[in-house]
Amino acid sequence: MSTPVLKPEMLCQVGLIVRDVEATARKYAAAFGFAVPPIIQTPGFDNARTTLGGEPSEATARLAFFQTGQLVVELIEPDEKPSVWREFLEKNGEGVHHIAFRVGDTKATEALLAEQGIKTLQQGLFVDGSGLYTYVDSVPQLGVMIELLENFPKDRVGSA
């Protein structure tokens, strides 16, 4: 029996890869009566500290978010550079790319996942530096990519 790694009630997000985040966000807004959300451009390596397979990456994306109860819907339009987002778009087209769980300690969670044969694929800071996201190679075992989301304690914001 293996150690549980993720807390089910920490499920907080469903992330979709799209070709045109503005167009899709407008369709969500029109269908469901949301305000059109702001489009957020993620920064390059200097600010996001993005790594892909452990190597620094300049991959960026444009994002839009809708809050729907416990779940946030994230729309992600990847740029042309290699990333887990770009790979999904090229392989699968548009669709649900990941589900996210909040974690308290990314490194400890990564270590437990590694014991289960699930390694980290891509990692980076939130746009405002307030936390860390981590995509892991869970598709073969779970049928979906898992993202770990860690919010840094307030006094660490900006210092990561």
Binding site: T3, P8, L16, V18, T24, A30, G69
Partner: protein, 166 residues
């Protein structure tokens, strides 16, 4: 155009992953999330569900495991034959997230609202299982939203035991 009416607070209540071996995936979720494997639910064919796939009666069945992750239903669904949007998805994409769901109280009305926005019904059916009085317990409806919204949206409706007798 007026937004789709009848979705209440627009809260997503379910994520469903279509898989080729529900037992295998359920075991892995159980281990990695520290949750018991729930009792498996196998849906019935047309005589019980009156399921329709693009308007045509279908014997579509599925093997389903369902948990609550917080307030969100989390479903693993393995298609078991009969024409279905589930089998189409599995054939085209392999195991992956198929839909997210809203809870509604008027499936027909909300489906008309989706159709008004260009998202018609693809598959619809009653839940398997009945109330003691013989009435259906609820129904599901899939909408053709995948191309426009990036995923399939489903409507879930639970019937009132005293209000719906079929």
């Amino acid at each position: 155009m007026e937004p789709i009416q009848g979705l209440g607070d627009r809260v997503l209540v379910q994520i469903c992953i279509i898989v080729d071996d529900a037992d295998k995936y359920a075991k892995r979720y159980s281990e990695l999330l520290g949750i018991p494997i729930p009792e498996v639910h196998v849906t019935d064919g047309y005589s019980e569900t009156e399921a329709r796939y693009f308007g045509e009666p279908t014997e579509a069945k599925a093997r389903i495991y369902h948990w609550y992750f917080g307030n969100v239903g989390f479903e693993l669904l393995q298609p078991l034959g009969g024409k279905s949007v589930w089998q189409d998805w599995l054939d085209e994409h392999g195991p992956s997230v198929h839909h997210v769901a809203f809870r509604v109280t008027d499936s027909a009305g909300v489906a008309r609202e989706f159709a008004r926005h260009g998202y018609p019904v693809t598959q619809q059916g009653f839940f398997t299982g009945r109330f003691a009085n013989g009435g259906h317990t609820g129904m599901y409806t899939y909408l053709d939203t995948e191309k426009a919204l990036g995923t399939t949206f489903e409507l879930l409706e639970s019937f009132d035991q005293n209000g719906e007798i079929h």
